[in-house]
Structures are given as C-alpha cells and as structure tokens.
Symmetry: C2
Subunit: 341 residues, 2 copies
DNA sequence: CTGAAAGCGCTTACAG
DNA sequence: CTGAAAGCGCTTACAG
C-alpha cells in the first residue's frame, strides 16, 4: 500500500505534524537532527505526499489550469504560437513547484466548473475571444486568480499579458513604406473595435498616417488565419487589388498562404508584391522566400504570465494593467523595393 | 464558501450518500423524484464536486498524466507531431470525463513521483527514449497503467501505440526506387538496434533488398532531427555523396532542412536530387518544393492510446502487444525520376 | 522544539 | 430506496 505521513512518523518515532513540517520545509520548527532522520526515512521508504490530501486540507492545490478553447467534439487545436507558450508555461510552473492541468473548454460557461473541480490555485486563458472574456464575472471566477494571454478585454478580473501589437504592425508597415510602397493591403480576420487584430489594424493605419499616405478603404481583405485562406486571398489579389504592391498579414500562416497564392497567380514575391507577416514562427524561415515578419517574445509572455499569476495566488496582488511585451521586425526575403512604374 | 455535498443534502432533506449517488449517476439506488429534486438543487446552488476529496476517498482521480521529457531548466519542446497528439489526447480524455495533467520530466527517475503525487489513474509517455522506458520497473510504476507512444521497448509495462515505421520507410524508399534511384542516402539521428529510427532504417534496407540493390554502407548520414542539421547535411551532400540522387530523411523537419541545404549548394530538388520525409507535418505542404513524405495517423494514435489506457484503468486489461497504425505515402513535389546519366 | 485533536469533502462497506 | 459511521492522507490552529 501507499506510504503515508503516518508511516514515516511511526518509523521516525515522531508525530505526523513534525514529519509534515520537515517535508514542507518548515525546518525552523524542527531540530536539525530530527530533520535529518526524517528525511532519511522519507527517502528510504519512498514517501510521496498525496497532492489530493494536501489540497483538501490546505485549501491550496499548487495546480494551475491552462484553459484553451475547444469545440465540443474537437481536438484542442494549438497553433504553433500557442504551443510554444504552453511549453514555456509548463516549465515556469514546474520550476516553481506547481503543476499544469491542461483543459479544453467547449463553452466559456465551463470555466467556473473547471476552476472549482480541481480547486485550481489559478488559471491562464489562452486563445479566448475578448467578448468571451468580457463576460467572465466575479461570480463565475470566485476568488481564483485568472489571467488572459493576448487579450484586450477591459475585464479587470483577467488582466494579463500580450505583445505590443500596435507597434508591431506599425513597424511592419513603416518598413514597407520605407521601401516605397504606398498601396498596402491589410489582410486579417474580421475584427471589432477591440482586440489583437484591431490593434494591429490601428498600428497599420498609424504608419500610413505617419507617412501622410491617404487611406484607401478598399485595401482591407478579411480572411481566416489559415494557410488555405491565405492562398485564396493571394490568388485573387491581382484581380481584386491590381494596384496593391504589398500585403501586411496579421499572422505568418496567413502571410505564407498569401505568398503561395501569389506564386500560383504568377506574381513574384517580392519582386512584384512584398509580403509581411506577424509572429515569427519557425516555419517563416523555412518557406521560400523567407518571410519578413514581426517577432514576439513568446518566452517572455509565458514567464510574465506565470509570474503575475503566482503573485496573485500567493500575495493576492492583481496586476492593475496588462503587461505589454516588446516586438521587433525581422527582415528576411519577402519584402523589396516597390517595382518601378 | 464552497458549496458541499452536505449543503445539498441539507437543502434536499436527504443524506449525503443519496446526493453522492445522484451526482455520480447511480440513479438505480435512488427514487426518480429524489433524483429530480437533488439535481435541481445542485444546479440552483452551483454545486461542483471536489475532485481532491473524491480522489482521496475513492482512490481514483480521473486524472491522466501526459509525461514529456524536458531538460531541467528547459521548456517542454513539443514537436508539431507531439503537439497534434497532445491536442487529440486531451480531447479523447475530456470526452470520457478524465482530465489531463501535463508534466515535463527532467529525469525518468521522476516518473514514480509524478504518478503518485496526484494519484494518477494512468499515464502516457510521449517522446521518451526506449532505453529510458526499458528501465521503468514495476517498483517504479506500481499498479498505475502506463503506456508509451512511439516506443519499441520490450517493456511489457508500457506497451502502447506507434505507427508502422518499417512499412512507412519501405514505402518511401520503394517510391524512390520506382523513380529509378539507386544511390539513396539514409539521413536520421543516431540509432541503436531498437526503436523508431531503427525500424525506419530496416524498412529502408528492406526496400533496397526487394529491388536487389546492393547496399552501400557509406550511404548513411547522422543528423539531429532539426532544420539546422538538415541544412548542414544538404549543403555538404554534393561533396560527401556526389553519387547520391535521393535522400530519405526520418523526419520532415530534417528533410526540409536538407532541401534548403541542397538549394544553397546549387543542387535543384527534385531535378538533381529527390527528397522524402516522414511525418506529413502541415509545414510539408507549405515549403518549396512541397515535400513528398509518409503520413502517420496522428488522431488514431491518440485515440488508441487513450482507449488502451482507460481499458487498463477500468478493467485492468493491459494490451499484450503494441497497436501499430497504418501509414501512407503522400506524393508531392520533392521527388522525380532520377536524372539521366 | 514537539504533539493531540479536529476537520477538509468526499466514498465505501454495512445495515435496514 | 435510504442512512449513520468510518476513513482516505493530509494541515491547521492551539497547547505545552
């Protein structure tokens, strides 16, 4: 059977409480020699504390949930971007003695159940829509600290971390303008007046304004953030926007699709049309031409998310404003000077 | 404070045990009207059972661990292949009312602790070396069912699921032979006489033997499964293997690197050298030329892994032999007839 | 520095 | 069909 605290206590001739103190590192409350003896016996008998018993008694689980949207019957679809963050979050948590419960959420209404069932000490929301986050209330979350990644929701209960999307888009667009481009197409998913895509659109517009380029409303194309939609968009570009000489796509995967679509339509990239993406996926350096894009600090996002969350868990300190991480432009081969004429 | 079983019992005027039966679906033991009343009150009060209390009392946690190697300070590096599997496993588990604890393992010696700490009902090993799996003993695993993905270890404690690596490699190589290639380079990580890479090597050799092609021992190159190593390998290929007209790489990411290396060295793919990969990552259809490769049934792997594991958890039925999933060749643009001369 | 008691929120036999 | 009691393996005040 399982080795318990009581077994160790009996073998060491001390009380359970003393063993508990040793195991939990409260060495101040135990004499040095007792600590030694108990630790030796723990190792000898291979004692592993029961996390569920501990959670139940201590009202703290050392468990953090990573909540990811997942249509009911669907697999968790983790983008490369979210996968990288997931890996980093697990590491940061592990370094601090916490564990990760990964859970797909089919409906935001499941969030409260997810938090309470395992008595999560905290949770990170990855990939939710701002409107979904907006609806999360104190009643739903209770006292459990929750933090959203990449959200612009004003919900103070979920204030978290994100990249400087505005500046990233501005950087990318300014780069195109510096190359002489004037008719630049904005390609991305449909957006409202708040959120990541909206911020990137604002950054895009700001760069145009900086250069005093008049804004042509027709230079926006809506597409899902998939390679497939990018291909379709790129293929019809010569017909729909014959004057456009550059495309700023809100995601690498979309940008890569656009490049392929353009290639299929016989439009050389970057000779005839330049393309810039956003994310700097590994993939972006593997395609032809290599994609110029905006790099995010993924490791920083994950580390900050965990730091903020655990600060809230341990000291009840909630961030008052979202942490914004710097981005940088990575120039590769998909952009060039605007063609003459 | 938290709503407990007792609160529901009080409100409904029944015993805790009756509520427990209703909540757990043992409706046979409770009258229909009691079931109704209790369920109404549960919904009204927003009762969520405590998973830790349940684990402690019932000795079953409904928690399954996904254990992934992770160097101590390192992030979990999830390959696209493993990410897809992870997503599918979460979904299969969720559909069955189980939860997923994702945990990086710095040293295989941590496995027992991982299993016991959270009283995992079972665990799936993803990405471990066969030698590490070989060393896992009954003493380490206890009575917890554990299952390895992509392992050829003979350890009966971890019998799991994998792809038909032998056939995949044979298919890929036979395809190259059919195109007239004779001098085919095998590129992959160093391997021992057991394991995924060894199986792929065996399949490669079998295809050559089928076609009565004499085996040239020098036609093997060792490289890590990274894009970078692929580039290096491809770039030096004209010098190191001037006669080779095709490369079979044991992973797409490596094959894609090889294609880039060849391109840098001025060798056209597939006109001068054909390249085949293994995995069929999304990425493989995005690069230029699109990669011909061997596709694995990732969803099938995940579903089978979860099915087998839960059968072991619930009925104590351990698989006697590993489940092997079919693979298929996906012909794209990176292979062509051997150049004349 | 050390300990006895109560309790965390459930489930499991055992009765009736 | 329903319930009272014991116990799962810990931690938390409270004493000493």
């Amino acid at each position: 059977m399982r080795v318990t605290l009581k077994d160790i206590a009996n073998a060491a001739g001390v009380s359970m409480m003393t063993v508990s103190n040793v195991v939990n590192g409260n060495h101040a409350r135990v004499s040095a020699e007792t600590v030694d003896r108990v630790q030796r016996i723990v190792a000898e008998l291979g004692y592993v504390p029961s996390a569920s018993a501990r959670s139940l008694a201590a009202r703290t689980s050392r468990l953090v949930g990573l909540l990811v949207p997942a249509a009911d019957e669907d697999s968790l679809t983790l983008s490369p971007h979210n996968t990288a963050i997931l890996g980093q979050i697990e590491r940061e948590l592990r370094k601090r003695g916490y564990h990760l419960l990964l859970r797909g959420i089919a409906d935001p209404a499941e969030v409260p159940e997810a938090l309470r069932s395992w008595s999560l000490d905290g949770a990170i929301l990855l990939g939710f829509l701002d409107e979904e986050i907006d609806r999360l209330s104190r009643g739903a979350l209770g006292r459990v600290p929750v933090l959203a990644i990449d959200s612009y929701s004003g919900n103070p209960l979920t204030t978290g971390v994100r990249s400087d999307d505005f500046t990233g888009a501005r950087l990318a667009t300014t780069h195109l303008i510096a190359l002489g481009h004037r008719a630049i197409l904005f390609a991305g998913p449909a957006f409202t007046d708040v959120g990541v895509v909206h911020e990137r659109f604002r950054g895009f517009r700001a760069a145009l304004a900086d250069a005093a380029i008049e804004w042509d409303e027709s230079l926006v194309e809506t597409a899902n953030t998939t390679h497939e939609d990018g291909v379709a968009l790129g293929a019809r570009l010569p017909g729909s926007h014959p004057h456009a000489t550059a495309v700023f796509a809100t995601a690498d995967i979309l940008a890569i699709g656009v490049m392929e679509g353009l290639a299929r339509a016989g439009v050389p990239v970057p000779a005839a049309v330049s393309v810039v993406g956003f994310d700097d996926l590994d993939l972006s350096a593997y395609v032809t031409p290599k994609l110029t894009t905006v790099a995010q600090d993924l490791a920083g996002k994950a580390a900050n998310a965990v730091d903020l969350l655990l600060a809230a868990v341990r000291h009840g300190k909630r961030p008052s404003a979202a942490v914004t991480l710097d981005v940088r432009l990575v120039e590769r081969e998909s952009t060039a000077r605007v063609p003459a004429g």
